[in-house]
């Protein structure tokens, strides 16, 4: 199997305070073609930052990065913007953790969902794009795709916005989908639909997925492999079943023990 993402010795350091802060240290992570990798861990441990780095979106100059991130032949850490943009929104798409602020408040949903298509598939006509947009909106269980298509972000509920983010990321068929807590604001029925959808696109298009989540049950049903992060390092990683059934690291054990139980 082909390796699609290779992260080696990634370190991320912040420089915007008097003291430099290292938030990710020597992180290694590989994702192969068609694989779904879960990334779980403590809140604030650096999951989102790792994901952003992999997507080539850490460009602030007060952040110091080192290591290697190789996505399908592109160096995501240091490549020029022109090169990155060939990848972003085309071979790679991102579902952001915060759907509220990650949508442009002044643009209609439809426009935002269609944006990657507009950039990377200029051959599509406007109506084709719209059809595709409505299609993905429906796929993420938005019941009135027309209304959503014509709404502004502030007119949608939290869950709807999150689904819009998902739809936008899936409007094209990326090789790698980075999903940063994509289902937190969704009710369980929709959550399950989304999980099915993700499995589906993996199956039909061979898309690899980096799935960041706190919901270990979702991770266990969706992912092939999982990595557990704490304090900027991956403390444990491996096959989902193995990790969940035989956690080795203290933190992993604690994590699994904290899953709320319902005794009916």
């Amino acid at each position: 199997m082909k390796r699609i993402l290779r992260v080696e010795n990634l370190s991320i350091e912040f420089h915007d305070h008097a003291l430099a802060e290292k938030v990710v240290t020597d992180l290694n992570l590989d994702i192969f073609e068609g694989e779904i990798v879960g990334l779980v861990g403590e809140s604030g441990s650096g999951k989102s930052l790792t994901a952003m780095a992999a997507a080539g979106l850490l460009s602030r100059h007060d952040i110091k990065k080192s290591g290697i991130i190789d996505f399908d032949g592109t160096d995501m850490l240091s490549a020029e913007r022109a090169e990155l943009r060939k990848v972003q929104g085309n071979k790679l798409s991102v579902i952001f953790q915060e759907p509220m602020t990650s949508l442009n408040p002044l643009k209609k949903i439809g426009w935002q969902v269609e944006e990657s298509m507009k950039i990377h598939m200029p051959e599509m006509t406007a109506s084709e794009r719209k059809n595709r947009a409505l299609e993905v909106l429906l796929q993420v269980e938005l019941k009135e795709p027309e209304r959503v298509y014509n709404s502004y972000p502030h007119q949608l509920s939290g869950g709807m916005r999150q689904r819009v983010m998902i739809a936008a990321a899936m409007a094209i068929t990326p090789k790698l989908l980075i999903a940063d807590e994509p289902t937190t604001a969704l009710d369980v029925t929709v959550q399950m639909e989304i999980i099915e959808l993700l499995k589906d696109i993996r199956k039909t298009y061979g898309t690899s997925i980096l799935f960041i989540s706190h919901d270990l049950s979702l991770v266990s049903i969706l992912c092939d492999r999982v990595a557990v992060m704490k304090n900027g390092v991956i403390v444990e990683s491996g096959n989902v079943r193995e990790i969940f059934d035989f956690p080795k690291h203290e933190y992993t054990k604690k994590l699994i023990a904290s899953i709320p139980v319902v005794e009916l």
Partner: protein, 264 residues
């Protein structure tokens, strides 16, 4: 680290520039190298020399001494006008945006009225009621400046008002005034500060413009603005007469804007 240093660098530059203008101005209140009013035929239009570093004007008065004295008046008018104008303008803008409805309508109409009223006529009315003088200019200008601040603040407030953090503040028991001025205002400070700087410039220059009405500083006293406009007569033959007061204004404004940008 690097970034913090750069910040200080701008701030220091701003402080230095402001000091270059303000220290002589403060000293000028108590002491000037030469009397600023007594005339000397022998020195009429004298070129810069060691004893008169900026030369002398058409009455043989030392320009450096006059700039020392004039700066403080200019500073007073600039700061005073902007202070009152932006204070009242911000209040008006904040209240209209925050409460909306009738208050908004009425205050914005009043605003339109002030804005349509020629400042010249306004200044004349002030002279008629209060007599000529520095403070009269200050108030006439401040009133003329209110609408622009009110408009800018209103626009920004409208945008902020709909955000969740405002609602959260309300739940945290903050009173309306506190919400407006402690919570919202800091978020529009950047825009407000750039309009305050604009206003400072305008005030300094408008004061010069009003001197031909005989309000403001009356000769032989001088402000930087009035020195500049007097110098226009000699623009071709003695451009340095305009140069020094002009430079002083520019340095003053530049210094203040650097400081306020860094502080904000």
């Amino acid at each position: 680290m690097k970034k913090t240093e750069k910040h200080n660098y701008n701030l220091i530059l701003g402080i230095v520039l402001t000091a270059i203008v303000l220290i002589p101005a403060v000293i000028g209140i108590f002491y000037t190298p030469y009397d600023t009013e007594s005339m000397n035929l022998a020195l009429k239009m004298a070129s810069p020399s060691f004893s008169h570093p900026m030369g002398c004007d058409n009455y043989g008065r030392d320009i450096f001494s006059r700039i020392m004295k004039g700066s403080s008046i200019t500073f007073l008018i600039g700061v005073g006008t902007v202070f009152w104008g932006s204070l009242i303008g911000t209040l008006v803008g904040a209240f209209t945006a925050y409460y909306g409805g009738v208050v908004d309508e009425i205050l914005m109409r009043v605003n339109d009225v002030i804005f349509s009223f020629p400042s010249l006529l306004l200044a004349l009315v002030f002279v008629a009621i209060l007599g000529p003088g520095t403070y009269q200019v200050l108030f006439a200008l401040a009133i003329a400046f209110i609408p622009s601040y009110a408009r800018v603040v209103r626009g920004e407030f409208l945008r902020q008002k709909s955000m969740d953090y405002v609602q959260l503040a309300r739940l945290a028991g903050a009173k309306d005034l506190r919400i407006m001025f402690v919570h919202i205002l800091p978020n529009i400070r950047k825009v407000l500060i750039s309009s305050i700087l604009i206003g400072f410039n305008n005030a300094v220059l408008a004061e010069a413009g009003l001197s031909f009405l005989g309000i403001g500083v009356s000769p032989p006293k001088a402000s930087l603005g009035s020195m500049l406009s007097d110098a226009q007569t000699y623009l071709f033959s003695k451009p340095e007469l305009a140069l020094f007061p002009g430079l002083t204004i520019i340095i003053m404004v530049l210094g203040i804007s650097l400081i306020s940008k860094e502080v904000a």
